[in-house]
Assembly symmetry: C2
Amino acid sequence: MTTANVEPLFVGLDVGGSSMKAGVVDDTGRPLSAVSLPTEAHRGQDFGLERMCETIRAAVRQAGVSMEQISAVGVATPGLMDIPGGLILDPMNLKPWRNVPVRRHVAETFGLPTAFQNDANAAAYGEFWAGAGRGARSMVLFTLGTGVGGGIIVAGGEGGYIVEGEHSHGAEVGHIKIEMTNPRECECGRFGCLEAYASATAVVKRTQEALADDGGRSALHGLMRSGKELTSREVFTASDAGDELAGRIVEETALYLAIGAMNLMHVIDPDLIVFGGGMIAAGDGFLNRIRAHVRRLAFVVPAERTRIVYAQLGADAGFIGAAACGRRLVKQ
Amino acid sequence: MTTANVEPLFVGLDVGGSSMKAGVVDDTGRPLSAVSLPTEAHRGQDFGLERMCETIRAAVRQAGVSMEQISAVGVATPGLMDIPGGLILDPMNLKPWRNVPVRRHVAETFGLPTAFQNDANAAAYGEFWAGAGRGARSMVLFTLGTGVGGGIIVAGGEGGYIVEGEHSHGAEVGHIKIEMTNPRECECGRFGCLEAYASATAVVKRTQEALADDGGRSALHGLMRSGKELTSREVFTASDAGDELAGRIVEETALYLAIGAMNLMHVIDPDLIVFGGGMIAAGDGFLNRIRAHVRRLAFVVPAERTRIVYAQLGADAGFIGAAACGRRLVKQ
């Protein structure tokens, strides 16, 4: 038997294209461990399912607890998926997996209540439970990375209702169309999506286009000549250093994100909008630019009252949120 | 005492800028009466509150029942409002009303549980309960009239959760920004809102602009010369009769509405999208054009599975939905 432990514990697992991360989380959302293992999707889905269980076991070991102390498990994965069915269907980032019965496999392996959730929804629910959204009734998360993802929690139901959608396509907030005239092509193949304007990838692309036109004035030309790869981080750094071209790109990015935020404020009208993902390394100056555009763009009441903040849990949001989804199974 | 009646009955009241409409509704959403009285907002809010009670009493009388048979009341009004507080704050269409305690007044007058809701949300909830959305888990309504309004119901909570928003600004689906380049000005003062492209008012405005440019070819020039006022109905009729300019306007309108529908499908991913309001007189041909654009624009899974239909309750949706909100107070 294990040592006595009055607080229930949960395990969350966040499966990504290159690695998966698991952690034991206590009843207040505090992680007691965090373990990453490579996903190695190319080795096939049976290997993948076993790797998931291995990562969960490693997280439990690292936390210094035993599997018997765990009350529930939550697993978050990228799409295409069937959330109620507990299946990954045809995942873009996990080739060649197909119709993978994730929830059933994990539940049967550990004999524990197991929740299954989209990774972006899980990250949103993690922030809602234990991060930037703690205490809020409703929240919209935008994650800014190579794409723009997100999650939506509304006040309906016990502990908030995750807007999964009826076809597991809820909260694809990067794929709202914000431009009809000469719209940019998105990675998804559509045109005019928010993601095509405001992801880190889009920031780089827009910067490259602007550099081709600026007659060599921007300091970023030096970086390009040095053969270093241009990333959104360099653009934000150059903007902070006063580079005019970079400053324009950053300001436009803030505007695009404010349009995204405003659109969600006019649809969901949440307590707060949270921005997460790698791009928030840009810092508070960037957040303040977004806020200023939102105040100008949105209806007066939500513009004044909706808090707009950065995420707090970083790359742990996914497994913490997955654990929170597991926790809901046994706490309701 | 009244005659025996096993089924509970509810009254819904839908307050509009020019008239208000009330009806008794049974437990299945069927209206037993429908009474309209002029709002006459200019006579002040005390008069308005009394007029609300008068309309409710008239609806009860017309249904041939007595007030004692009514289990609950629901009142829907236009904004700006505080839904949880039961207050109309500063309504655009009900000048000079201000901070009107609608719910308290109605509840105290009749001594009945009284719900308060935004009129567009109520119309959505009416369709969800007893109209086009009957049996659905979630639904987004777009109402196409002088503006573009709407309501959103998600599956969270008993009987669906109405996305009111935390600041009573949820489901302002006409005010998502769909254009950044040279955006049209909206009645709300913002730029690029869906409403500025796809309301009946916008259809007329876009037609007038096109007529100024088409060298007198469109049949609609004759209508304009006759001094008759151009309405969206004439544009749809001319399109059906083969007028090229009108056909182009109608096709573009279908595209704009499909962009609105797609954006909500990528945010809410509901069971179904419902279009209501005066403009649906355009008929099934117009609906099919919208559907065709959505299939082309949206993610494959929601594009294939989301039903896109017309509303079924017409101008009764508001009071039926208001009654449904009252019903929730006593049925949960």
